[in-house]
Structure formats: structure tokens, C-alpha cells
């Protein structure tokens, strides 16, 4: 069997060494669901700086990637909602953090555009609001749409339920959220999973993220949320 299609399994500590200062990093999750906690905690420990965080929200001050914000590792956040993390709001108000807020449906479509080779998407969301300012508005069949540009990252840290050795992924519950989209839109994709199975143990019919998109597999750890989500 060719070994190139077998995905390397690493510790979280080893995997996050691939992330360098100044990188753009997508992190999956919505609220506390579907966050790759073990990878995020390792990134906090690594202290990698000046990161551009692309995630739906910034979790909580002491939970998940919220910790990266508190730890001063983030220079810019692109998200749809940061209301649960007081530090994100405080640092933004103190002008210590750049914040780009994007409607959630637009956020995922921009990532999809980045991963699927599209030059952007046209969405009616935000027309007639401040979100429209500075963006190109295009009229199609009498209706106005905002042109939203693709979003990609150097690295995506995603969370799935199970992988096989090829990196094929299946998801569980509401942990799926942004993870499958992010798996398409980064140069390096690191997936944290509950279990790594042998080839054939995941039915091809059930695969959501094909393994060709995944570069590194990491088993989840036993922290409070990693073990419960």
C-alpha cells in the first residue's frame, strides 16, 4: 500500500509547531461545540503570536480559542459574533485588536468560496446596512447583492468525530458546524478526532470530508470540553 495517502498522526504539541508567527488560522466551532480543544490548548502553550484568527466566534475568555485572545496571541479576528468573550470586546475597544465582523451565513460562504475556487459570492445579507459600506453591490434581475470575497487561511484546525487512516472524516451532533467548510479552505488542515480507524471502517457513503483535504490527524485529549464534546 502506498504510504503517501496514510495521514500522519501527531501529538497536538507537535502538530501546532507547523503554525508560525503571523499565520492566518481558521478554527472550527460554534459557541463551545465543535472546537478542536486539544489543538487550541497546545497553540496557547506554544505561544505563537500575531495570528489572524478566522472563527465563527471567539468562544469564552477561558474556553477554547478565547484563550488565544486573552493570551495576546491574536492581532486580528474575523468572526460573526464575539459577544461571549469579554476580552475580545475590550481589546477591540482599546484598539489592541483588529476585528472584522461578518454575518454568519456570509462568513461560511466566504470560506466555501475560498475552498471551492470561486471568486466570491453574491448575497442579499447586509444590503441597506453598514455591512454594505465599502463593498461592491451588484444588481441581478432587479435585486441587490453584496459581493463577498473568498476567505482562505494558512492553517485550519478542525474538529471531527472519527477519521480513518486516509483522513476521511465523519462528524457528530452539532460539532459539525464550520469544520467541513474550513477543511477545504486552508493550505494545511489539521483534524482533531475522537478516534482513528483502519481503512474500511468508515463507509465511503458516510464520509463528509474526504481525506484528500486533511494533512495531519491528532487524537483529542481529556480536557473538560475535549472529553465532553
Amino acid at each position: 500500500m502506498p504510504t503517501s495517502v496514510i495521514k500522519p498522526v501527531m501529538s497536538a504539541e507537535e502538530a501546532v509547531k507547523r503554525i508560525t508567527d503571523g499565520s492566518s488560522v481558521m478554527i472550527g466551532g460554534f459557541n463551545y461545540g465543535g472546537i478542536p480543544y486539544t489543538l487550541v490548548d497546545a497553540l496557547v502553550d506554544a505561544g505563537t503570536k500575531d495570528l489572524w484568527l478566522i472563527s465563527n466566534d471567539t468562544a469564552y475568555d477561558d474556553v477554547g480559542h478565547g484563550r488565544l485572545v486573552v493570551n495576546g496571541q491574536i492581532k486580528k479576528v474575523t468572526a460573526s459574533h464575539v459577544g461571549l468573550n469579554k476580552s475580545t470586546q475590550r481589546l477591540f475597544n482599546e484598539k489592541k485588536l483588529e476585528l472584522e465582523l461578518v454575518p454568519q451565513g456570509t462568513f461560511v460562504e466566504r470560506i466555501r468560496a475560498g475552498g471551492f475556487g470561486l471568486g466570491g459570492v453574491l448575497t442579499p445579507t447586509g444590503v441597506g446596512t453598514v455591512h454594505e459600506e465599502g463593498k461592491q453591490v451588484i444588481e441581478v434581475e432587479g435585486k441587490r447583492y453584496i459581493l463577498e470575497l473568498p476567505l482562505r487561511a494558512d492553517v485550519a484546525l478542525i474538529r471531527a468525530y472519527r477519521a480513518d487512516r486516509y483522513g476521511n472524516l465523519v462528524y457528530f451532533g452539532t460539532n459539525r458546524n464550520f469544520n467541513p467548510a474550513m477543511a477545504t479552505a486552508a493550505d494545511l488542515v489539521i483534524a482533531e478526532v475522537d478516534a482513528i480507524l483502519e481503512i474500511g471502517q468508515i463507509d465511503p457513503n458516510d464520509v463528509v470530508t474526504p481525506g484528500i483535504l486533511v494533512d495531519i490527524l491528532v487524537l483529542k485529549g481529556d480536557s473538560y470540553y475535549a472529553s465532553r464534546t
Binding site: N31, G33, H81, N93, Q104, R112, G126, T174, P180, A181
Partner: protein, 226 residues
């Protein structure tokens, strides 16, 4: 003076009235706060499918045993109903933006007589972000605003024109507060129902928006059940 209501009574009055708007088979997204209470008041003779923007179609009640792998948008555990579906965010917002939702119920910082809604940002103070709200008000067939009539400080929320950044322009279908039901009809705000004990003159003082009083103005439905 308008009747002073206990906050809990006000919140539940609003939720009960909103729940009367749905039809059998409707797909509905409920926001955080008062909108969350709406699911407790769905009439027994209809079935409503609740959608949560983090990826549940057919969200059920809080389970006896918590499983953090199934949560709603507000982070509370839930159990998908039998026959429900779990989807990724692109599908979830495809459903929302694509017109597959019959209604969305949201709170408001401000709403105005043109049907504009502001509920995501107070410049210089609070910057929580719009989350899914801008997509929801753009895509859902009916946008129902469920809010207390005034802010905690007593300032009116139903205005001639929103002063805060908008979530959506001309998107609101219905406004339900503890004192009234206001419906947008052909671009005009119409007072259709008023709560018991509310004097229309006093009501006007806390409702600066221009609204028309319906010829069929009646008592706010559901108040008789309190």
C-alpha cells in the same frame, strides 16, 4: 401611566402571543432571550419545526441527561427530535437565506415604523456582532420582533427611525411587546392589538413611531390566559 408589569409576566405574555402566529408545519428559528420562551407556548394542535443556526433542523427540548455534543445556538443542550436532521453551517445558512424558514423571532434594541431593525451593535459600547441575525432577517419569510416595549431605562424602542446600525432594512413583519401587537402592512405600521388596561394616549407617549390604529383593534390575544 401604563400598567407596570412584572418582568417575567411581560416576557411570557410576549412569548405566548408570538406562538399564536405560527401555522402547522412552519419552520422557525428562535433567537436568544424572550424568543427562546416561544417554544413553550406552541398550540397543541400544530407542529412547528425549530431550526437552530448552528445546525439542527428539528430541535427538541432540553434532555434529562446533558450531552454537550448537541447544543442550540445559545449553548443550551438539546435533543434533536426523531426525524430531525443535523447539518453543517453552510447548509444551515442556505436554509435561512434561501427562504426555507417560515419565521424568525428576534429581540430588538430598536425597531422603526419602516420595519427596520437594529439589534447587534451599540457603537462605542457593546460590540457582540451580528452572528446569524442579518441572514435570518434577510431570508426568513416572516421576521417577528419579540421585545419589551421600552429599554430597562424606560426609553422607547419603537421609533420613527432607528438610530443604531441596522441588522436589516425594511425586514420586520410583526412587533410583539407586553403592551401591543404592531404589524407591518404594505410598509405601514398598524396597531392591531393592545394589552388590557393600556390607555391609547399613554401608549402613544412611549411609542414615538407613527402607526395607524387598526379599525379592528382588539385586546392582545392570550392576555386572558394569564
Amino acid at each position: 401611566m401604563l400598567p407596570v408589569l412584572d418582568e417575567e409576566i411581560a416576557r411570557h405574555r410576549i412569548a405566548r402571543r408570538v406562538a399564536m402566529e405560527f401555522q402547522d408545519g412552519d419552520v422557525v428559528n428562535l433567537g436568544i432571550g424572550i424568543p427562546t420562551l416561544v417554544s413553550d407556548y406552541i398550540p397543541e394542535n400544530i407542529r412547528v419545526i425549530f431550526q437552530t443556526e448552528n445546525g439542527v433542523v428539528g430541535a427538541g427540548p432540553k434532555p434529562e441527561k446533558e450531552d454537550l455534543r448537541f447544543i442550540g445556538a445559545g449553548g443550551r443542550c438539546l435533543k434533536p427530535i426523531l426525524g430531525g436532521a443535523l447539518v453543517a453551517s453552510d447548509m444551515s445558512f442556505g436554509l435561512i437565506r434561501g427562504g426555507h424558514l417560515d419565521a424568525t423571532v428576534l429581540g430588538a434594541l430598536e425597531v422603526d415604523q419602516e420595519g427596520n431593525l437594529a439589534n447587534w451593535w451599540i457603537p462605542g459600547k457593546m460590540v457582540p456582532g451580528m452572528g446569524g441575525a442579518m441572514d435570518l432577517v434577510t431570508g426568513a419569510k416572516h421576521v417577528i420582533v419579540a421585545t419589551t416595549h421600552c429599554t430597562k431605562k424606560g426609553d422607547p424602542k419603537i421609533l420613527p427611525k432607528c438610530t443604531l446600525p441596522l441588522t436589516g432594512a425594511k425586514v420586520v413583519s410583526l412587533v410583539v411587546t407586553e403592551y401591543c401587537v404592531l404589524r407591518m402592512v404594505s410598509g405601514e405600521m398598524v396597531l392591531e392589538e393592545i394589552a388590557p388596561g393600556v390607555d391609547l394616549g399613554e401608549f402613544k407617549k412611549v411609542t414615538p413611531a407613527n402607526y395607524k390604529v387598526s379599525d379592528d383593534l382588539c385586546q392582545m390575544k392570550g392576555c386572558e390566559l394569564e
